[in-house]
Subunit: 140 residues, 2 copies
């Protein structure tokens, strides 16, 4: 239940904690796969929460600005997915090419590589994305 802290974060930036933002946050909290805007929309509809798809988009964008949510664009998908950052550490994903199942990979092998890349390219590295894909146990 991270709602009060987030409420403070919202107010600190002149924003408000609303019924729909609570609903989106609660859904993200109880969801263990990264979800798309349309999935958030339809899952809230099933839960009898009245919300417009536009509001879902605006909400995830606000949560992204506050640093509470990460947006990810997985390969072979045509829509972004969103995952709560709070309480979860940096990690990556693997996606099944058949059924689309997404599983967390609780690892990151890229710390060391970053320095090497900065030396080679003269870039300052700020972020990275890493995603595996293949066939899940059920789809093999």
């Amino acid at each position: 239940m991270l709602e009060p802290t987030i409420g403070q974060g919202l107010r600190a930036t002149g924003r408000r904690m609303t019924r729909t933002r609570k609903a989106v946050l609660a859904l993200l909290e109880r969801t263990h796969q990264p979800v798309s805007a349309s999935e958030i929309f339809s899952q809230l509809q099933e839960a009898d929460v009245a919300i417009d798809l536009v509001t879902v988009y605006r909400t995830v964008n606000v949560l992204k600005e506050l640093g509470l949510v990460v947006q990810m664009d997985l390969h072979q998908e045509n829509q972004s997915r969103y995952e709560l950052k709070e309480g979860r550490k940096h990690h990556h994903h693997i996606r099944c090419q058949i059924c689309g199942k997404i599983v967390d990979l609780l690892l990151c092998p890229l710390k060391k590589l970053t320095k090497l890349i900065e030396e080679r390219t003269q870039f300052v590295v700020d972020d990275h994305t890493l995603e595996f894909s293949g066939f899940c146990p059920k789809c093999q």
Copy 2:
């Protein structure tokens, strides 16, 4: 000049080597950054090659099916980019968050990790994407 070989690959699948396909292939051959469909379109227009944007899309899709081109969806971009596979080995990219410059990273640190992931997740790993982002020398 890989055109004749590709011509064979096309004919082997009941396809034809056309003026527009030659033009797209030639552009991909001489381009050293991954290019988007609209970039292919406008660059060919500047070179006085008459081609429709739709044809560019259809062409890169055919080349993808033939395994001659890789499609990549980089973070913070809203369009796919395409790169010729022929003669270039598996590698990854870093992208500047300011100017969008993309540089090849001629490395891949993920061979070993694949086995570990297969053991942990029971997936069969087939592919991966890796991308760094940051600030290029000019934009720092």
